[in-house]
């Protein structure tokens, strides 16, 4: 089911970028359920600034692919009303840094409504957010705000690492009766993978994926950093250090059982994300891994991530963003103990 599973010659697959895979996943969800509708800025004739919704308004009409006024709170707030009416809105926030005008509606209304209504009213809303840096963008276009949302009970948070994952999990997010904040790693939008459009969608998206097994260090990441830690594992292997690689995939719920099981074997754990390390997702993982693996650890849990600064101007981002060398540096630290 995962992209790391070698496809057999019997399963026809298509090479797609993540943008194309998301587009195909959205199309399939819309074909499967007339209550699914899309809303966002510039998602109609333009197809979205990243073209994820390319061609969908033409095929599904303006009532189902809605070009919204330029108002993020309005997009999320009206989606709450549409959900109350029985629709399943899939929203596009144009860039990570533009989600904050909608933060109140997401945290106060979308996240809590099922709870507040004692389970009567469901909020099957998907909020798609292109996130993360690495594309040389201007301010407010490279942020990683996932911890805010994962910290909010009532929301689910998913982030695909590659095109095959994106094709499947966007459909699973839309099928969820809970609201899902769906973070798309924009620097991986143009990476290709083999996508299986034929097999039925199966498996739970709310679980971590073990992509590689190694005996020395457990590397944990999600979204854009999964490719980075896979490359780091390759490089470390050349130096004789064998790493496990785990893609968390879901940040809420968090599935730490595979991480804990692996660290109990390796004794070393490194968490990698673009967001600032301070109070980030890695802090929760480090705390839980330390609690549950205390007597197995050979070294402190390391976190590799952004500094506690706003996302810097893009001429700095090669230094701000974790890369293979910084992961290897952390591997050196935990194996030196």
């Amino acid at each position: 089911m995962t992209s790391m599973t070698p496809t057999t010659s019997m399963t026809p697959t298509t090479s797609m970028t993540m943008v194309q895979a998301l587009n195909a996943g959205l199309r399939r969800a819309m074909e499967g359920d007339p209550k699914v509708l899309l809303m966002g800025e510039d998602i109609g004739p333009l197809g979205g600034v990243f073209r994820v919704t390319d061609g969908l308004q033409k095929d599904f009409g303006e009532d189902r692919v809605i070009d919204a006024p330029l108002a993020e709170s309005g997009i999320v707030g009206t989606a709450v009303g549409l959900a109350m009416r029985g629709y399943r809105p899939v929203l596009e926030i144009q860039f990570d840094g533009f989600v904050f005008p909608a933060f109140d509606q997401i945290v106060t209304m979308v996240a809590k409504h099922h709870y507040r209504s004692a389970g009567i009213t469901r909020m099957p809303i998907v909020i798609r957010i292109p996130y993360g840096g690495g594309i040389g963008a201007v301010e407010h276009h490279s942020e990683s705000p996932e911890a805010y949302f994962a910290h909010t009970p009532g929301l689910r948070v998913l982030t695909p690492a590659d095109a095959a994952e994106a094709y499947v999990t966007i459909q699973q997010a839309i099928a969820s009766d809970d609201p899902v904040v769906y973070f798309e790693p924009k620097r991986r939008y143009w990476d290709r993978a083999e996508v299986d459009e034929v097999s039925p969608i199966s498996g739970s998206p709310w679980t971590s994926r073990v992509l590689r097994r190694g005996s020395d260090v457990t590397l944990v990441a999600y979204g854009p950093m999964v490719r980075t830690i896979l490359e780091a594992a390759d490089a470390a292997a050349e130096d004789g250090v064998e790493c496990s690689v785990i893609d968390l995939r879901s940040l809420s719920p968090l599935d730490l059982d595979p991480v804990v099981a692996d660290v109990q074997s390796t004794g070393r754990c490194i968490v990698v994300h673009e967001a600032p390390v301070m109070l980030g997702v890695g802090a929760e993982i480090a705390a839980e891994v330390t609690r549950r693996c205390f007597f197995h650890l050979e070294a402190p849990v390391e976190r590799v991530g952004g500094a506690y600064i706003p996302y810097p101007p893009n001429r700095f981002e090669q230094h701000y963003l974790p890369d293979v060398d910084r992961v290897l540096d952390a591997i050196d630290r935990v194996t030196a103990v």
Binding site: L37, D63, A68, P69, A71, S73, G74, V76, G77, T78, A79, V80, G81, L82, A83, M84, R85, G86, Y87, P101, D104, Q105, T108, M109, K112, H114, Y115, R116, S117, A118, G119, I120, T121, R122, P153, G154, R156, S176, D177, D178, W206, S252, P253, L254, D255
Partner: protein
């Protein structure tokens, strides 16, 4: 009292006609309006008393605003949908919200007070203005369903300053959504007067969105009924959104935690008390012979029974099972909620057995 408002009943209870808002009124309708205002007022008085005696954490008094609320509530069809603030006790009454259930929220055992499917009202939000957007989204859903329904979206003068109300007006206009915005301008947002929210009448804002608006006497139940009904009909027929500013006054505190003597001249109250919506309706019913003593006594008895029911039920409520707080966070199981619930259950078991 402003004079540039639409009015179908004078403060003396004299019926006047308005060419744009005709209304057929018979004794039965007057009695239903009267009953709903009296029962709303009794819920209000009893709830304040229950808060004062420590049975409720909070209450939001409605005294003075029952006219527009009961009128607007009667303007809705059963199939229409409403979004309100916490203060629309008159609309709750008309739509059939169980007053006991209403108080569950203020008792602190739930975050909402009714099943929206049964009464056609979204559960209210305490964050001011947020639900204006939900109203418009719901109305956009009605459009997509091709349904013969409309939405009534209620908020106050303070909410008109929020970005969400602005965005709601933008979306409603852009999509021609079947929604009627009803602003109860009760002059005060806690301690801040409406002059701090706007320097022109609130109704004039709608023009900037291309939304027609009217300003009505909010203490005139018949004007509230006629104008809201006309504009809901218009919205249902595809005429698009409309905006009503109902000029009224909050004669009580903002909530039971508020102290209005710190910010407003109590002499204002005498003026607005003279414009009381129930007195006005009563005067009119006396004029047309619709207020016989047997009917008045029957409504009073019903109100007494309601008060007793509220007192007995709320005072007798037991504390909720602590593990209930883990219910309905998600529609589908969530690993962290499950784990936290189990940990709490284990802890409670330890406490209970020690």
């Amino acid at each position: 009292m402003t004079e540039d408002v639409i009015r179908l009943l004078t403060p003396e209870g004299e019926r006047i006609e308005h060419p744009d808002y005709p209304l057929e009124v018979d004794a039965d309708l007057l009695r239903r309006l009267y009953r709903d205002i009296v029962l709303t007022r009794r819920t209000d008085v009893e709830s304040t008393a229950l808060q004062r005696t420590g049975e409720l954490g909070l209450w939001c008094p409605v005294l003075g605003q029952e006219g527009i609320q009961v009128g607007a509530g009667h303007a809705m069809r059963p199939t229409d949908y409403g979004f309100t603030t916490y203060r629309e006790v008159g609309i709750f009454q008309v739509r059939g919200v169980d007053p006991v259930e209403l108080l569950h929220l203020y008792r602190g055992v739930t975050h909402s007070s009714w099943d929206p499917r049964r009464v056609g009202l979204g559960i209210f939000t305490i964050v001011i203005g947020s639900h204006a957007l939900h109203s418009v989204g719901y109305a956009m859903g009605i459009q997509r369903d091709g349904a013969d329904e409309a939405v009534l979206s209620c908020f106050g003068d303070g909410a008109t300053s929020t970005g969400d109300v602005h965005e709601a007006m933008v979306f409603a206009a852009a999509f021609n959504a079947p929604v009627v915005f009803l602003v109860q301008n009760n002059q005060w947002a806690i301690s801040v007067p409406v002059t701090r929210q706007a320097r022109a009448p609130l109704a004039t804002r709608a023009a900037g969105y291309g939304i027609p608006s009217v300003r009505i006497d909010g203490n005139d139940v018949l004007a509230g009924l006629a104008v809201t009904r006309t504009l809901l009909d218009r919205a249902r027929e595809g005429g698009g959104p409309a905006f009503i500013e109902a000029v009224t006054y909050r004669r009580g505190p903002h909530t039971t935690s508020d102290d209005p003597t710190r910010y407003r001249d109590e002499a204002e109250l005498d003026h607005w008390a003279s414009l009381d919506p129930l007195d006005r309706l009563r005067r009119h019913m006396e004029r047309v012979g619709a207020l016989d003593p047997e009917f008045v006594a029957a409504v009073d008895a019903e109100a007494d029974a309601l008060g007793e029911l509220l007192r007995e039920t709320i005072r007798g409520m037991e504390a909720p099972d602590p593990l209930r707080m883990f219910e309905h966070v998600y529609a589908e199981p969530h690993r962290q909620v499950t784990a936290d619930r189990a940990a709490m259950a284990d802890y409670l078991a330890t406490v209970e057995t020690s």
